[in-house]
Symmetry: C2
């Protein structure tokens, strides 16, 4: 039996992690996930990497099934005591979850790279896939709003995306080196597929694309690039994607997603409810993109890999 | 009604905190507690001050009544997750307790002094007494044992005091400044009493006495110095005091405590079970020093204050 061909997937947090889990079930160690770190921040003195943690907990079967982020069977005693001490309590950190932030902060302070810490955590949780931060240098997404510039988590969590968004800035991205394995995978002729998970393009994928050379390497990649639209039936399933698109003056439609990725995209997977758009979008195809159950996640992952295989066969 | 005269008490952790609570019930804001920080250490990247925290939680009615340290109604989810990540798990940190370490570490890193952080925590918990670290500079108790030199918590918690102790070193003490309020209180002619709580003299009180000028200021203090013996019936009630005394070649007796403090002590309170020693120890008196209930703590505190009053009357 031949080895499973390697697949690279780019993703953000909750929505992206669902497809990442589907891909992981099919591919195991053949999957490399490159995760947005633009959401990372230092809070209560701890280095917190929300997207990396969501992906890690998801692949480790430890994610809170109710929220899609944080850990299952967690509790809020730490947060209650922070409140009691008059500390900042707008960003929830579960008691179990906290161990990861404390350990990461300690190891980063001791000189380890974020990649090394992430790999050690994945190993401790028995994750067979490669989970990589997009860069070992910090990148901080900043949100320009009608009330001023906000750090990402202040906009996203503290202000609950209420301020109207005008523009996004990925501070540090131009000086950050993309993870070397990301560039190596993009150039790898043996790679079976590059998957853009159904994460918010502006908040979760653009920080990655803002790293020097990544966008060009995607466009030049020998492997087919398949994205899954985060827009379903002309709306975002969850989260602020539709609100942000409207505020940026963009049509809330899978068409906008196709346009956003046009310089490197080979195939966009549209949700069945957006099937009418397929005729207008060359290279698009239709799938069930709403992932409720684990079976849904695996089925969508299979559809993504099939789409990539068809792209290869067409071009090969 | 006249104002309650101020009282200064020096103490370590669990045993000392019991008398501290008794004094606090009687004195409220007239009590100043100066707490050993030789046990402090940085663990998992967090600054941990075991004696300060025990005293703070005790006065705040938040201490775990089973252990005498840590917080009541706490849980171990954080620790379980640290174990899962392969981190150091020999020092238990409860989920609620952790908030204090995280907040303190953050505030110290931001440039606040340990005194300022301790005062803010005491204020958040509604503690009316002054709770002061013995110094704002770090002092680290090191234990010279038959298996080499150990940092205090490695000796005390990780190795459970098993190695035989040869000597103690208070690293940094000679360069550390005693808390200015400690020196001011020691010199204050209006101070009603200086109380040495029944803490381990070598582990909990000597770090304080090792700070420049403290021992001499105690000897010169206008206020009477009253100590409560941690030796009861020729044994330590709890903890390694008796084992350490034996390893240092000292008689396990209240006599040794009196000798240890002889250059500044005005009165040693012996436990009733050691009443036979009183005749040999000028200035000693007998009290019930075993503090099970809160009533016991208050009664012993009252006996201590009475002893101080009698010392003043004798000398005045």
């Amino acid at each position: 039996m031949s080895e499973t061909p390697r697949v690279l997937a780019l993703c953000g947090g909750v929505g992206g992690a669902k497809l990442a889990l589907g891909l992981y079930r099919l591919l195991g160690p053949a999957l490399t996930l490159v995760v947005n770190t633009g959401d990372d921040f230092t809070h209560l003195g701890l280095r917190i990497c929300p997207d990396l943690d969501t992906v890690t907990y998801t692949l480790a079967d430890r994610v809170n099934p109710e929220t899609g982020w944080g850990r299952a069977d967690d509790s809020g005693r730490f947060m209650a005591a922070v409140t009691e001490l008059g500390g900042e309590d707008w960003f929830f950190l579960g008691d179990r979850d906290l161990a990861l932030h404390v350990e990461r902060t300690r190891r980063l302070a001791a000189g380890e790279s974020l990649s090394a810490v992430t790999a050690a955590v994945a190993a401790a949780f028995g994750i067979a896939a490669r989970v990589l931060p997009m860069s070992d240098q910090p990148v901080a997404t900043q949100v320009e709003t009608d009330t001023g510039i906000l750090a990402f988590q202040h906009y996203f969590v503290r202000e609950r995306c209420r301020p109207s968004l005008r523009a996004l800035h990925y501070q540090g991205a131009a000086q950050a080196a993309p993870h070397p394995e990301l560039l190596a995978a993009l150039a790898d002729p043996a790679l079976a597929a590059i998957v853009i998970c159904p994460s918010n393009p502006w908040l979760s994928i653009d920080p990655l694309l803002a790293l020097p050379g990544v966008r060009a390497a995607l466009a030049a990649a020998p492997a087919p690039v398949v994205a899954v639209s985060p827009i379903v039936g002309g709306q975002a399933l969850k989260g602020p994607t539709a609100k942000i698109m409207a505020e940026l003056g963009l049509e809330v439609s899978a068409r906008t997603i196709a346009a956003h990725y046009r310089d490197f995209l080979d195939c966009l997977l549209l949700d069945c409810s957006d099937g009418a758009l397929a005729a207008d979008l060359p290279g698009s195809r239709v799938a069930a993109t709403v992932m409720g159950s684990e079976a849904d996640k695996v089925a969508l992952a299979r559809a993504v890999l099939e789409a990539a295989r068809d792209c290869r066969n067409r071009s090969g």
